[in-house]
């Protein structure tokens, strides 16, 4: 009897779990599924309200993708985003790696505190800084240039990267560096020749995280840059694939999906590290 009840309970729990997962998979995944379907539909099919939108009422087409790649700035925006991403990753690594090492090893107790303060600057949002920054960008003569983004983006990628790398460096045993220094390397030499090569996975994490932030950023790109050919993906797709009131829905959805999925795939691989960074040590 008791055992039976236990089985019932286990079963109802499994069903409950299945329902919860199914509900959220539909809620969270549906927009992407919808993008995918929309990309391959003919306009005549999309814009006929009588048609069942879940099926292809006319044969699938590649026309929307052709339009996206050949007749819009999409490829330019992809290139701009990749270029800004690579440059920002470079700046972030050059500045964050030594800073994180210094805070983890050389500055003793208040390295940790300073680390937390730097982390807190990550909480200062673009929507608070974009008005003064737009002035600074104009003063530097960088308006409408992607260089404005190359300069400004590290201001939010560096703090989080320092935080991630600090945790990483702390997990490398001190003895290794001490041994290397006894063998004649300087502290800085030990950092460059020993610690950095040992930190490949930490560095990769920072690269992915920085790149993701660059592709996601919207407010600064919208504020600093107006010409279509200098746009980033995040602003170009929702702004320039719309002419007046006409939305090119098929191409729009193509732009959204193509820009989203590769990043998500890579991000997924490094998820646990980002989470460790975000939880500020509240999980051990």
């Amino acid at each position: 009897m008791a055992r039976r009840r236990g089985q019932d309970r286990a079963l109802s729990r499994r069903i409950g779990r299945g329902l919860v997962i199914a509900f959220f998979m539909v809620f969270l995944g549906f927009p992407f599924y919808w993008m995918l379907i929309t990309i391959f539909k003919q306009n005549a099919d999309l814009y006929e309200t009588e048609n069942n939108p879940f099926i292809f009422n006319a044969s699938p087409t590649l026309e929307n993708l052709r339009l996206l790649f050949y007749e819009t700035g999409f490829v330019r925006w992809l290139g701009n985003t990749a270029l800004v991403g690579i440059l920002v990753v470079g700046i972030t690594l050059v500045l964050a790696l030594p800073a994180a090492y210094s805070l983890a090893r050389l500055t003793g107790k208040w390295g940790g505190r300073l680390g937390i303060l730097i982390f807190l600057t990550y909480l200062v949002p673009p929507t608070l800084l974009f008005i003064p920054l737009s002035r600074i960008v104009a003063l530097l003569g960088l308006q409408d240039s992607i260089w404005s983004l190359v300069i400004v983006y590290p201001s939010f990628t560096i703090p989080f990267s320092i935080w991630l790398l600090m945790g990483f460096f702390k997990s490398i045993p001190r003895e290794l560096e001490d041994a290397a220094m006894v063998d004649g390397l300087t502290r800085f030499g030990a950092f460059i020749k020993l610690v950095v090569p040992m930190s490949t996975s930490g560095i990769l994490t920072v690269v992915i995280f920085t790149f993701t932030l660059v592709t996601q950023e919207f407010v600064y790109a919208l504020t600093f840059i107006s010409p279509e050919s200098h746009q980033m993906l995040s602003v170009g797709v929702p702004t320039y694939l719309i002419l007046g009131d006409v939305y090119f829905w098929g191409s729009l959805m193509g732009g959204c999906l193509i820009a989203s999925v590769p990043i998500a795939l890579v991000y997924n691989l490094f998820l646990d590290r980002f989470i460790a960074g975000f939880t500020v040590g509240a999980v051990k």
């Binding site: 003064p132 919207f218 998500a264 509240a282």
Partner: protein, 306 residues
């Protein structure tokens, strides 16, 4: 004596130069971030007390004039209220939803990796693009939601809801879309917290006859509290300061019914060229950010102590 003294002195010398090296290694990063965060932050205050406009040189100090005129502006009051509605509603939805989802995903099962990838998409995809996807789903004429509702006879074809065109529906829409975007983030944070709870504690409770809900409310959730706090603090900042969902979906409309502080600051300061008023509006974000930062420091401090 001399033989043992020399290396020790050298070691001490190295250590003190280590501190100098330490400063030299973190200074460039700190200066960079300060120049691009602290300086504009200070400038935001400066502008808010001036009459700065795009295209005009020479600002003058005007005291609290901007704040006074902003506070009298009905659009601003509307946006202030909306910001709180937007933040609180979506946070409640996110916390309930992500707790349920994290509990469901806690145990291993086949396909868990794929499910995790799928539910992570809204967080990782650029939100401006995700929001465009929703704009299509909620379109006034071609909305798939409406098509389904009509198909099951819940609404009539000539009386379709305009998801982004009616004030209260538009507010609900931006809240749901923002919930959609933040839920994955909160879920994975809670999952990390759940795996840190020793398995035997809830199991022991189950053996003692505690049901699912009792175990949840009396054991799991209290043990999860620190991590719930972290997820909530981030969620509040990401929501209260976000303008992307509103900008893409409704541009604050209809009739400012979805206008929030960040979007209003953008429309006033950048599109309307009134830097001073825009800066004054965005400064209203600061008190909440300070509170969150202090709470975050407490979380970090506790993690350091224990």
């Amino acid at each position: 004596m001399a033989v043992t003294g020399a290396p020790r002195a050298r070691k001490r010398g190295k250590r003190s130069s280590g501190f100098g090296l330490g400063v030299a290694m973190f200074l460039p990063a700190v200066v960079y971030v300060l120049l691009l965060v602290a300086v504009p932050f200070g400038m935001a205050f400066f502008y808010a007390f001036s009459d700065a406009r795009i295209g005009s040189g020479g600002e003058h100090f005007v005291g609290f004039d901007n704040f006074a005129s902003v506070l009298e502006n009905p659009t601003f009051r509307k946006a202030l209220g909306n910001s709180f509605i937007f933040t609180i509603s979506s946070q409640v939805l996110v916390l309930i939803g992500s707790t349920a989802l994290a509990l469901a995903l806690k145990d291993k099962f086949r396909g868990r990796g794929f499910v995790r990838f799928l539910i992570l998409l809204p967080w990782v995809a650029p939100i401006s693009l995700g929001a465009i996807g929703w704009k299509w789903i909620l379109d006034s004429i071609y909305s798939v939601v409406n098509w389904v509702l009509i198909a099951v006879h819940l609404v009539k074809p000539f009386d379709k809801p305009m998801w982004l065109g009616q004030p209260s529906l538009a507010m609900i829409s931006v809240i749901v879309v923002h919930t959609w975007r933040l839920l994955p983030f909160s879920t994975v944070i809670l999952l990390a917290g759940l795996t840190a709870i020793p398995r035997d504690i809830p199991e022991a409770a189950a053996v003692d006859g505690a049901g699912f809900w009792r175990t949840l409310f009396e054991i799991t959730l209290p043990m999860l509290r620190p991590i719930l706090n972290v997820a909530m603090l981030f969620g509040i900042v990401f929501t209260f300061t976000d303008m992307i969902v509103v900008y893409v979906l409704t541009a604050g409309g209809p009739y400012d019914s979805t206008q929030v502080l960040p979007s209003l600051a953008f429309f006033t300061g950048i599109q309307g060229s009134d830097l001073a008023a825009g800066a004054a509006i965005s400064l209203f974000l600061v008190p909440l950010l300070v509170i969150v930062a202090l709470l975050m420091l407490r979380v970090a401090h506790r993690a350091e102590v224990t």
